[in-house]
């Protein structure tokens, strides 16, 4: 199976008035052809920065300080800004954003916003581009697409707008699509429709999906693999079934325990004590140690390596080979 | 230090200090204020003193710059340099007094409009619409032609026509601040309107008002200069940078005696520019987005 997206050792730094901080550090993962990888984490975990870094869209005061990003075998960090614009963004990789309200240009008609992508990346006439746009709008389940093409974003409902965003992302048939919390701003019923649509489109368009979310329920539904981030680092990754059946990292365990589920009838949901530390005040050693029940002196001073446990990798001393043998 | 550490104003002050143009602007402005204060000490002559050509009963008009008269003399034989220094006092007096008037009027009307809303708001905003329909200079000219022009009338006129932007600004800020939770809470707790306005709303909108005061001062200087240039502002023999340029409407003066009209023009430009630097610096410093 082909690897579509591979991120190796990616680090991103932000400069602020209080100093420079790493938003993400040494993030590595890969996404296979026609698979869905979900990045899970609380706000401030670096999941959005990771996806924006792949799209080369991080804010002016941030920059990539290390690592490689391969899209379809090409290290895009070695390409010029122009080359990335011309041959990667919108062509091999596209992105849908959280807020369909603000992510569409309010003064440009839907039709033009979709066709401009096609005209930018494919050698087709305006008529052909229009036809492709119409077809794609039909594919994403928009009724009477001819009329919609002439409308402006504010004339559409939130769910419709997100469908337009998806159509915009798919219209150039990219190899991979990044979806950054695409349903957070929507009602629950609409959310389910959009998720089903993404599932279906992944098959028809043969794309991979990088799904960024804080919602574990969604992950269980749509992901093949899961990546858990905390304080800018990948603390655990593996196939979705393994992660949900046997979470390894104490943080992942905590996250899963906080998930409400129908077959449990506990009155009070458990929570993880403490809160995500501010980017400027990240603790030494394992970033999670102040909130962790298993924290030892080692965790307070030294950053754990990543250890392989079955199909999962975990960044936690609990799974260091020595410790594992003594436990067993 | 008056400013509490790590408060909003502390951060703003630090941001302001880092802004080179703003710091330069502040120094230039302060230098002008100083000059205005000590003008009598610095000025070699009285501003309205006439000079005669030695040994003759003829005014020493249009004299070129010399050691005796650094910037020469004007059409009536007065020392341009001395008039320039005294002009700074007039300019500052007019601008600052006018800004105080316009800020007080504008703030009160803005607060009332924004806080009470409904009829009062509609009423005052229509007044604003009416006043801004008249080009500022037209109103100024009307006011100062109706009454006999004097410095006080000029101050009053400028104050009375330039409160509208402050009123609109304050109204908008009040509408924004009014929705803040603790003000809604103070309202719910039955605090009196006056108390809420003075204790909670006013401190919250002080920053934009300060910016407006700065910009307003610069604009008032320009208005005074225009009025005096047109002859309906500060009247002779009192020197003002605006009326010092009146002579330049004569082609002869304009072409052959640049020392008469370039210095007052340049100092006006420099002072207004410096104040704008300060204003821009303040706006950026107060803007948390920056």
């Amino acid at each position: 199976m082909n690897t579509i997206l591979e991120v190796k050792d990616l680090s991103v730094q932000f400069r602020t008035e209080e100093g420079s901080f790493h938003a993400i550090e040494h993030v590595s993962f890969s996404v296979q052809e026609q698979k869905t990888l979900a990045i899970v984490g609380e706000s401030g975990s670096g999941k959005s920065v990771t996806s924006l870094a792949i799209m080369q869209l991080i804010a002016e005061n941030g920059n990539i300080t290390g690592g490689e990003i391969f899209i379809d075998g090409q290290d895009i960090l070695k390409l010029s800004r122009k080359q990335v614009q011309h041959s990667i963004l919108g062509k091999k990789i596209s992105m849908i954003f959280q807020e369909p309200m603000t992510a569409l240009n309010p003064v440009i008609r839907i039709g033009e916003q979709i066709t401009e992508s096609i005209l930018e990346h494919q050698q087709v006439s305006k008529q052909e581009a229009r036809k492709i746009a119409l077809d794609t709008l039909k594919q994403v389940g928009i009724p009477s697409p001819e009329q919609r093409m002439k409308q402006y974003p504010h004339q559409l409902s939130g769910g419709m707008r997100q469908r337009v965003m998806i159509a915009m992302g798919l219209v150039t048939k990219p190899k991979i699509m990044i979806a950054d919390e695409p349903t957070t701003a929507l009602d629950v019923t609409i959310e389910a429709q959009i998720l089903n649509l993404l599932e279906e489109l992944k098959r028809t368009y043969k794309t991979s999906i990088l799904f960024v979310t804080h919602d574990l329920n969604i992950v269980a539904d749509i992901a093949d693999d899961v990546l858990v981030m905390y304080c800018g680092e990948v603390i655990e990754k593996g196939p979705v079934v393994d992660i949900f059946e046997h979470p390894r990292h104490p943080y992942t365990k905590g996250l899963l325990a906080t998930m409400p589920s129908l077959d449990q009838d506990e009155k009070v949901l458990p929570t993880i004590k403490g809160s995500v530390p501010n980017i400027s005040k990240r603790p030494q050693g394992c970033h999670f140690h102040p909130r962790c029940e298993h924290a030892t002196d080692q965790c307070r001073t030294t950053k754990p390596q990543t250890y392989q446990v079955g199909l999962q990798t975990v960044q936690c001393f609990l799974y260091a080979p020595k410790k594992e043998s003594s436990n067993a | 230090m008056l400013i509490k550490k790590n408060s909003f104003y502390d951060y703003a002050y630090r941001r302001f200090r880092r802004n080179k143009l703003a710091v330069i602007g502040t120094f230039i402005t302060l230098a002008f204020v100083l000059v205005a204060l000590v003008a009598p000490v610095l000025a070699p002559y009285e501003p309205s003193e006439f000079f005669f050509i030695e040994g003759q009963n003829v005014y020493n008009k249009y004299a070129s710059p010399s050691m005796e008269h650094l910037l020469g003399t004007d059409s009536l034989g007065r020392d341009v340099f001395s008039r320039l220094l005294y002009g700074a006092r007039v300019t500052m007096l007019v601008a600052l007094s006018a800004v105080i008037i316009s800020t007080v009027i504008g703030t009160i009307i803005g607060l009332v409009s924004g806080y009470f809303g409904k009829f009062l708001d509609a009423f005052f905003m229509r007044i604003v619409d009416i006043v801004i329909s008249f080009p500022v200079l037209f109103l100024l000219i009307s006011i100062s032609t109706i009454m006999d022009p004097s410095i006080w009338i000029v101050i009053l006129a400028i104050g009375l026509v330039s409160w509208t932007s402050t009123a609109r600004l304050v109204r908008g800020e009040v509408l924004r601040v009014k929705e803040l939770d603790y003000i809604v809470a103070a309202n719910a707790c039955g605090s009196s309107s006056l108390k809420i306005i003075v204790k909670h709303i006013l401190p919250n909108i002080l920053a934009p008002i300060m910016v407006q005061v700065t910009i307003g001062t610069a604009q008032a200087i320009l208005m005074e200069a225009s009025l005096s240039f047109l002859g309906v502002g500060v009247q002779q023999p009192t020197p003002s940078w605006g009326n010092m340029l009146m002579d330049a409407q004569k082609l002869l003066v304009l072409r052959d005696m640049p020392w008469i009209w370039i210095p007052p023009g340049m100092v006006t430009l420099l002072l207004v520019l410096a104040i704008y630097f300060v204003g821009d610096g303040l706006r950026d410093a107060f803007d948390p987005k920056q």
Partner: protein
């Protein structure tokens, strides 16, 4: 949109009434009461008292106001003190010249100001940006009469490229195309002086708008689509940034009329402003008041038009 426009029209009714009331008050406060000038001075003494009666100068104020408005609507602004010139006609003669000057300055402000603002925003924090920013600050800070004098000094007196004043070279007696070119030649300097402040504010406003817009989510979307920079700036950012610039259309009208007073008097341009300045010198209050009322009404109309334009260019209001 019909609702928006009709609401906007409704709001301007009290404003136009307020404008006339304010003009009326200023007029009544003026020395000599310009209302008295409504009497044609060429009539004999017997008719004079009749005219006073007819004009209602002895009536209560509100009735005087109503009668005055009735005259004004018919275009009668009274007569000047010196000579028996109709003020309405005097202004009407000058109106086109002022319109030529202000309209040129208006167009110049946007044609020059908008690109400067866009360049500043796109090249943010570069030397070009600093240069434009400094220039626009000087543009708003320089007293317009001083700039006008400087321009005459340099371009007319030192270099001799442009005439120092007036609107046409009467002695040359140009006709046809040459006549219009001559007016254009005379127009360059005053239009430049009148538009400078406006160019500066338009470019500052455009720049800060552009910078805000470039931070918007939909710009990020456009970048994610791999569009080239030109498309992002001109198609996606500029279209949004220009919408609020339309509001400056309205705001710049009173600014330009104010400026016309000074510019016309410096350049000897035979427009309403120059008429106004002469009126101040000759204490012709009737002319000042009429100019006040006419310009205020023009400004109100201009604001109305720019608000309507705003509704037309912004699809969020249009639909």
């Amino acid at each position: 949109m019909v609702k928006y426009i009709s609401k906007r029209l409704l709001v301007s009714i009290p404003v136009i009434i307020g404008i006339t009331i304010l003009s009326f008050i200023i007029m009544k406060l003026s020395p000599g009461d310009p209302l008295a000038n409504f009497i044609n001075p060429s009539i004999n003494m017997e008719d004079l008292e009749k005219s006073r009666q007819a004009l209602g100068l002895n009536d209560p104020l509100h009735i005087q106001y109503v009668k005055w408005i009735g005259q004004v609507i018919r275009g009668n602004f009274g007569y000047t003190y010196s000579g028996n010139h109709s003020i309405g006609n005097l202004i009407l003669e000058r109106l086109p010249n002022t319109v030529i000057l202000t309209l040129s300055a208006f167009i110049l402000s946007f044609v020059v100001g908008i690109p400067l603002g866009v360049i500043g925003a796109v090249r943010k924090n570069t030397r070009i940006d600093y240069g434009i920013t400094l220039m626009s600050l000087v543009g708003v800070a320089i007293p317009s009469f001083f700039f006008g004098l400087l321009v005459i000094y340099v371009f007319a007196l030192l270099l001799g490229i442009f005439p120092s004043g007036g609107m046409e070279n009467i002695r040359a007696g140009f006709t046809g195309f040459a006549y219009y070119m001559d007016i254009l030649h005379h127009l360059v300097l005053p239009a430049l002086v009148l538009s400078l402040g406006n160019i500066a504010s338009v470019s500052r406003f455009t720049r800060s708008n552009m910078l805000d817009i470039l931070k918007e989510d939909y710009i990020r979307t456009a970048k994610a689509k791999g569009l080239r920079n030109k498309a992002i700036i001109y198609r996606h950012a500029l279209r949004n940034a220009l919408i609020p610039v339309v509001t400056i259309f309205g705001l710049s009208i009173p600014f330009l009329f104010s400026g016309a007073y000074i510019t016309e008097s410096i350049f000897n341009w035979p427009g309403m402003g120059q008429l106004g300045i002469r009126a101040i010198q000759d204490r012709e209050y009737g002319i000042i008041m009429a100019l006040n009322l006419i310009t205020a009404t023009l400004v109100l109309a201009g604001n109305l038009v720019s608000d309507i334009l705003y509704a037309i260019v912004d699809p969020r209001i249009r639909h």
